[in-house]
Subunit: 243 residues, 2 copies
DNA sequence: TTTCGGTAGATTGTTGAACAATTTGGCAAC
DNA sequence: GTTGCCAAATTGTTCAACAATCTACCGAAA
């Protein structure tokens, strides 16, 4: 999907902006659009076009860009512009290095007082699989892993995990995802939750480590496969904005 | 130390700014000054005064503020201004919740290929203690713990830890630190490194968990003690900028 | 005296225009 | 097919202005 196609949409959303927080608002709008895949990885975010469409000044838009860049959602190349981050293989490995620390550690040392969100996520994932809804399956899976990190009860780790998952969505958007990709992991998640609640934390953590290693491998493989065939398409898409 | 006192200093530093990156540069200058304690927690960062002194426009300065706010170094209150973050007890607890995940996990699952930085930090800490240099002791201790997280080999976790340690410096700047505060931890660090290199990772991680629990308790106690006696002084200091 | 509004001044939030610096792409010359 | 240079487009940054909001001050009422 190109920038031009969602311009009307964005224009509609740019009706009510109040004093004090326009920059935050603009960042939220862009974050949301990127997360939904409407602004694809590699796309250039033109200052002039976006500021016009969002109805904010270039200065305010730049404040939003600074926020998104800090979240790695967007990449700034000096004097060239701002682009939706296009995940690389190294980027994927970096993501999983972080996840292999955060998630097992949360299982080992986190609080076991409230696992409601985890149960809910497992439930949603199962329902999504039954309904054959791939997007809902992916979303529920992300919720589960965010919930695991939430066991650590640290706002900044939750935020970090949110950023990591946002970048994972970019990874998925930058390649074709096999419809059966997420399905096998649903049972693994359920099993992890079971172990965790039974007090078998070390086992749960070990399962998480295995899960993440396996997932990383699959993602890297899929990404490698996608890279070749979509390189030309991506060039075209980016070309739209550079022109 | 008040803003007025370091204005000349900043003005000197604001000589060479180039195209493309002024905002980043301004953020770096402020980050450095805050880290060094020259801009104390609670101090208001006036847009007009700072932009004038740094020789950047208010717009560019605001871009820097957005970056620092994302790092929690600075707190933005809408329509009131930007302040150097004044750590609260809850803030301290939040920091230690994150550290109790990151640091033990890095010891458990991190790479053991390069412990050079850790040995160096332990060495520096010992030398600093021998020399009675409290600041160097604190700095070396921070280097050690940053080095532990670095074992995870994740750029974003390293960055997260850097932010956490920056906020810890704010905590120390917001209270009087007992000269003997850091000394006992030097041996604990050395012992942790010893265990880690002997392959006793679980033991090293357990020691880390204890260390962090103990440190959190001490910091909270010291903070509580400092809060009452310095409340008036802080009010005065902040008052300088509100005038 | 204390409290309650209300107003004036100061500061932040945001915009739009302007110019400087850099990149890009085309075009000529070799 | 390179190489070098120029023109157009885009980003980087500043400046001045105005809107919105907060703070502090001050007089009126209790």
């Amino acid at each position: 999907m190109t920038l031009d196609e969602i311009l009307p949409d964005l224009r509609r959303q740019a009706a009510d902006v109040r004093h004090a927080e326009t920059g935050v608002w603009a960042a939220a709008v862009l974050r949301e659009r990127i997360s939904a895949g409407q602004l694809a990885p590699g796309a250039k975010l033109s200052e002039e076009a976006l500021s016009e469409v969002l109805g904010v000044s270039r200065n305010t838009l730049r404040e939003a860009f600074a926020t998104l860049a800090a979240e790695h959602i967007v990449t700034r190349i000096p004097n060239r512009g701002v682009f939706v981050t296009l995940p690389t293989a190294d980027g994927v490995r970096e993501i999983y290095r972080a996840r292999r620390i955060l998630e097992p550690a949360a299982l080992l040392w986190g609080s076991d007082l409230d696992t409601g969100d985890l149960h809910a996520a497992v439930g949603r994932a199962g329902a999504a699989r039954a309904a054959g809804d791939v997007a809902a399956m992916a979303s529920a899976n992300q919720d589960f892993h965010a919930g695991v990190v939430a066991l650590a009860q640290s706002a900044r780790l939750n935020q970090q995990m949110a950023h990591v998952l946002a970048e994972m969505r970019l990874v998925f958007h930058s390649m074709a995802v096999d419809p059966g990709f997420h399905a096998p992991y649903i049972d693994v998640n359920a099993r992890m939750l079971e172990l965790f609640e039974a007090g078998e934390r070390a086992e749960a953590a070990a399962l998480m480590v295995n899960y993440l290693a396996e997932a990383e491998h699959q993602v890297l493989t899929a990404q490698r496969a996608a890279r070749g065939e979509s390189a030309q398409a991506r060039r075209n898409r980016v070309g739209d904005y550079l022109k």
